[in-house]
């Protein structure tokens, strides 16, 4: 983060003793971590935020916000899978006349809109997150006290592992979600042609494949949630150790 360097200029620390300098460095790096890595860049106020002015970053708040985005996406995918379940009950000759099709349409439509916001947030994480860690790493070099440098490098490494895990799992969500959405769109387009998708059991394989794809998305979202829990635990431990 670009405002990090002025914070870490040694001239700002002045003539403090070596220990005070180390403590100041730790505090500043912790602030970096809390406000930049986990607060602004990774889990900051974004598309879902309704605030008109940016609030002061608080440690861990961003994780909670990102968890909300994950939960929202999870709910939308789960609702779509439930709607697919209902379509598997043979109730009409053509799928277009299936009484549960309007429910599916509502769930699918909601998923389209939710995906715009949730995927934008996730891709912004991937685009921005690494830059914060790169700059934090550059700032580590500026710490003169070897003990403080070692401590902060260890914190950096631990949190980078968590960040990488969330990033990797977020990209897995994206990899699962994109084909799932594509197949849902294709399926719904085929439903518009009554001869192609019937309302009886012959459409089960296709519906089942869609449900399987949806469940894979849910699993990958669950895995992001677990990674977020771990990151939060690590953040709390870091805070407790300060």
């Amino acid at each position: 983060m670009r405002h990090a360097k002025p914070y870490l200029k040694r001239s700002m620390i002045g003539d403090r003793s070596r220990n005070e300098e180390a403590r100041a460095d730790r505090r500043l790096l912790y602030l970096l971590l809390a406000s930049g890595l986990l607060g602004l860049g990774w889990f900051g106020p974004g598309c879902a935020s309704s605030r008109s002015t940016p609030p002061a970053p608080k440690p861990g708040r961003g994780i909670a916000e990102y968890r909300d985005v994950t939960r929202e996406a999870h709910d939308a995918v789960a609702a779509t899978i439930n709607a697919l379940d209902l379509l598997m009950r043979p109730k009409a000759k053509a799928m277009l006349e299936h009484p549960d099709l309007p429910d599916f349409d509502r769930a699918f439509y909601q998923l389209e809109l939710t995906s715009v916001r949730a995927r934008a947030r996730a891709e912004a994480i991937i685009a921005r997150g690494q830059k914060y860690f790169d700059e934090w790493k550059e700032n580590l070099v500026g710490i003169k006290d070897p003990n403080a440098a070692q401590l902060e490098a260890a914190r950096y490494t631990r949190l980078l592992i968590h960040f990488d895990r969330v990033r990797l799992r977020s990209s897995e969500v994206r990899n699962e979600f994109r084909p799932f959405m594509g197949k849902l769109r294709q399926f719904r387009a085929r439903v518009d042609q009554p001869a192609k998708v019937t309302g009886d059991t012959s459409s089960w394989p296709e519906l089942d494949a869609l449900r399987t794809g949806g469940r894979r998305v849910l699993e990958s979202l669950d895995s992001v949630s677990l990674a977020l829990n771990d990151a939060e635990t690590e953040l709390r431990a870091t805070r407790a150790a300060q």
Binding site: G36, L40, P45, D105, L113, R119, A124
Partner: protein, 180 residues
């Protein structure tokens, strides 16, 4: 009624595919063939506000075009040639929006503020996600399986997703470094 292109339309289909590819290339990589239009202000904040206002105006144009497209597709007698025209127009309007937003994003990134960077990244990713709907329509059309009902539904999702995006642009003013 499916919008299966007739034999004599093959050349037009190929043209449409090329045009689609060209628009995607220009909007995504080459910086576009149209320059973003906004008035540079006396301060960076004023320029940002002008660029954001131009982006907002273009977003409204895109939304209105999507709604009109959906209405036309729902009317009787909507044919392949109408779709080609609407699709090309939709992509062009979306491309102009992308250009306007890229200009706004470029200005916001100059601030060097993480919040501005993140707002730009999120809004940019939002447009990329919305653009998938064009790919979907293009693929369905190329496969000869596109139905007007599908176009109507996709246009509704497109216009509503764009409204969502426009709201987020409005909300992002302070993150991008200006006040509306």
């Amino acid at each position: 009624m499916r919008l299966r292109p007739a034999e004599w339309h093959r050349l037009t289909r190929r043209h449409l595919a090329w045009l689609g590819a060209l628009v995607l290339y220009l909007t995504a990589f080459a910086g576009g063939w149209t320059r973003a239009q906004y008035l540079p202000g006396p301060t960076q904040g004023a320029s940002l506000r002008n660029a954001a206002a131009a982006t907002d105006t273009q977003a409204k144009v895109v939304i209105r075009a999507a709604e009109d497209w959906g209405r036309r597709a729902g009317s009787a007698g909507y044919r392949a040639e109408h779709f080609q025209q609407d699709f090309t127009n939709g992509q062009l309007q979306f491309g102009v929006l992308r250009q306007q937003f890229n200009a706004l994003g470029g200005l916001a990134l100059q601030l060097g503020r993480p919040q501005a960077d993140n707002a730009v990244a999120e809004l940019d990713a939002g447009l990329t996600t919305i653009a998938e709907l064009f790919t979907f329509l293009q693929n369905e059309y190329a496969a000869g399986t596109l139905d007007p009902k599908t176009i109507v539904r996709t246009c509704r999702a497109y216009s509503d997703a764009m409204k969502l995006w426009q709201r987020e642009l409005k909300k992002s003013g302070s993150r991008l470094g200006f006040i509306w």
